[in-house]
């Protein structure tokens, strides 16, 4: 797959002297949904702002489809639609007017049919003649998405698109995102909701304190870092783990009625069969067992904690 956005050695030092990004290197692939995951203040918005031309980089460079964002800013920006994190909308313009304005701003000829389609896809068609000030927060958010899509961008940035958005609307939004991806649009989203990244993204990048900690295919990430846990509910309480079972690094629960075994799904063998055999040899019987897989959230928390 080819690269559509290439960030190299990008740093950002704000006027206050604060280093929000530190030598970021990142490639976004054409047509993928890329989730940028990171705690508050990690630098997600700063990174997006630089790529979109809202903030100046302090060091390093970014190219969009081969166009440098500074030297060939027109070509670079024409490809990008941006939905910023904060709700910034006009008030007294109508939905139709503000979305058409965005299209003009990006130098595209009028195309009412396209605007109509965008508004319909985002369930805004009934509101097309309403003033923006009369809309709910969720609708305003959709208006901002409509503005970003008005000029048919090949790349869409969604900065925490579902923050403060109800479940119904969130589902609708993801539908739109999937349709766009199917049409070949590259999507970069940032989110706090790890389930979202897990559900939507093809690849995931984790950013923390202005540094990219990891970039990985979602499936591989889950596999690589995904650990499973086997929990055995014992038939009889035990006081200690027999020495014979030491190699398994088992954890005994407080009450002495549960044994917990962590294993790696990516490993050659999980060790479960031999564990069960050794348990029987040690005379420990269990009444039930369950397994669980760590979510992206666990992975994320452990990654961010390490740094």
């Amino acid at each position: 797959m080819s690269t559509i956005i290439s960030v190299s050695n990008l740093s950002k030092v704000y006027g206050s002297g604060f280093r929000a990004l530190n030598k970021i290197n990142l490639d976004i692939r054409r047509g993928e949904i890329f989730a940028l995951l990171g705690p508050n203040g990690a630098g997600k918005t700063t990174l997006i702002s630089i790529v979109c031309g809202i903030a100046n980089p302090s060091e390093g460079s970014v190219s969009v489809n081969g166009h440098d964002i500074i030297k060939s800013y027109r070509a670079a920006r024409a490809m990008i639609g941006l939905v910023p994190q904060e709700l910034h909308t006009d008030s007294f313009e109508t939905v139709w007017a503000t979305v058409s304005f965005s299209r003009g701003l990006f130098g595209k000829p009028k195309n009412p049919a396209h605007i109509e389609k965008v508004l319909k896809d985002l369930s805004l068609w009934e509101k097309k003649d309403s003033k923006i000030i009369t809309l709910s927060g969720g609708m305003k958010r959709r208006v901002m998405i409509a503005k970003a899509l008005s000029h048919e961008p090949q790349i869409l940035f969604l900065d925490e698109p579902t923050a403060g958005v109800d479940v119904e609307l969130r589902k609708g939004m993801w539908e739109v995102v999937r349709t766009l991806r199917d049409a070949g649009v590259t999507i970069i989203l940032t989110t706090h909701y790890i389930e979202e990244a897990e559900e939507m993204a093809d690849r995931i990048g984790v950013i923390n304190k202005g540094e990219i900690v990891l970039v990985e295919d979602k499936a591989k990430l889950m596999e690589k870092l995904g650990r499973k846990q086997l929990k055995l509910h014992l038939a009889h309480k035990i006081d200690a783990i027999p020495p014979a079972l030491a190699p398994y690094h088992l954890v005994l629960s407080e009450g002495g009625t549960e044994l917990i075994y962590d294993y790696d799904t990516a490993g050659e063998r999980t060790g479960i069969t031999s564990l069960l055999g050794d348990l029987r040899n040690a005379g420990i019987r269990f009444s039930d067992l369950e397994t669980s897989q760590s979510s992206l959230e666990d992975i994320f928390v452990s990654l961010v904690r390490q740094v």
């Binding site: 979109c52 100046n56 920006r77 024409a78 008030s91 965005s102 701003l105 130098g107």
Partner: protein, 253 residues
């Protein structure tokens, strides 16, 4: 050139004008009419003529300039300050558009509005006093130059301002006094010589003088000087705007 973007910004700004028509057009017309009643009638009954022109007629160019100056600054400063204030500036900054094009859109719309306003005020004045314009082309030239220059100046204020007080401060504390003292209501030649020298430091004097010359052929200072000062001020504003955009001053982090 991204003509469509210029057009989009220009029409967006003009739409704002039509939406706030009452405030944009009607209120300056009403206040101008009041100036006529108060200054024209009250003072005009004492000063009958200034340099061969009746007082009421004499003050028309100054009144037009007064409105064009203040409205150009108000329109342009608000036009760019507002998107900064509500955050919608993100879209302008992320669009494939040069700073030059942004300026043409915003300053063009602000200047258009104040030119229309100037013409309306002239028409209003025509209802009160007889008007004649000796050099219509020069009149329009001065009108357009002043509108553009002060819209640029307003644009700079709008970018510099980080609060509504600052937005009002320069127009109120600097521009309005300079305009009132710049010979809107009197000829500089009527002042005692000490005052006259001080008054000649006021740039607005040159604008009003040149503009009045295009009406009646009378001027406080040479027309060439008026034109030169106007162009000089325009060049200064352009230089400041160029610097703002080059550095991203108060627009980009």
């Amino acid at each position: 050139m991204n003509y469509r973007a210029i057009r989009a910004i220009y029409l967006f700004e003009m739409a704002r004008t039509w939406r706030t028509l009452l405030q944009s057009i009607v209120s300056p017309v009403v206040s101008t009419s009041l100036y006529f009643v108060v200054f024209g009638a009250a003072i005009g009954s004492r000063i009958t003529e200034v340099e061969g022109v009746s007082y009421g007629t004499f003050i028309v160019p100054g009144l037009v300039m007064l409105s064009v100056l203040t409205q150009s600054i108000a329109n342009a400063s608000f036009g760019i300050y507002f998107p900064k204030f509500v955050g919608t500036i993100y879209e302008i900054l992320s669009a494939p558009i040069s700073y030059f094009e942004i300026i043409i859109g915003y300053v063009g719309a602000a200047a258009t509005k104040s030119i229309i306003l100037g013409l309306i005020i002239m028409a209003t004045a025509g209802l009160f006093v007889p008007l004649h314009i000796n050099h219509p082309i020069w009149m329009l030239t001065f009108l357009v130059l002043t509108a553009v220059t002060f819209s640029l100046f307003g644009f700079i204020i709008g970018i510099w301002a980080d609060g509504f007080e600052k937005l009002q401060m320069i127009p109120m504390l600097v521009v309005t006094p300079l305009t009132f003292l710049g010979g809107s209501f009197y000829s500089v030649n009527m002042l005692p010589s000490g005052w006259r020298t001080i008054t000649l430091l006021n740039p607005v004097v040159y604008l009003i003088s040149g503009f009045r010359w295009s009406f009646y052929g009378i001027a406080d200072v040479g027309v060439g000087l008026s034109l030169g000062m106007t162009l000089g001020f325009l060049a200064t504003c352009l230089a400041i705007v160029w610097w703002i955009f080059r550095t991203g001053y108060r627009l980009k982090h």
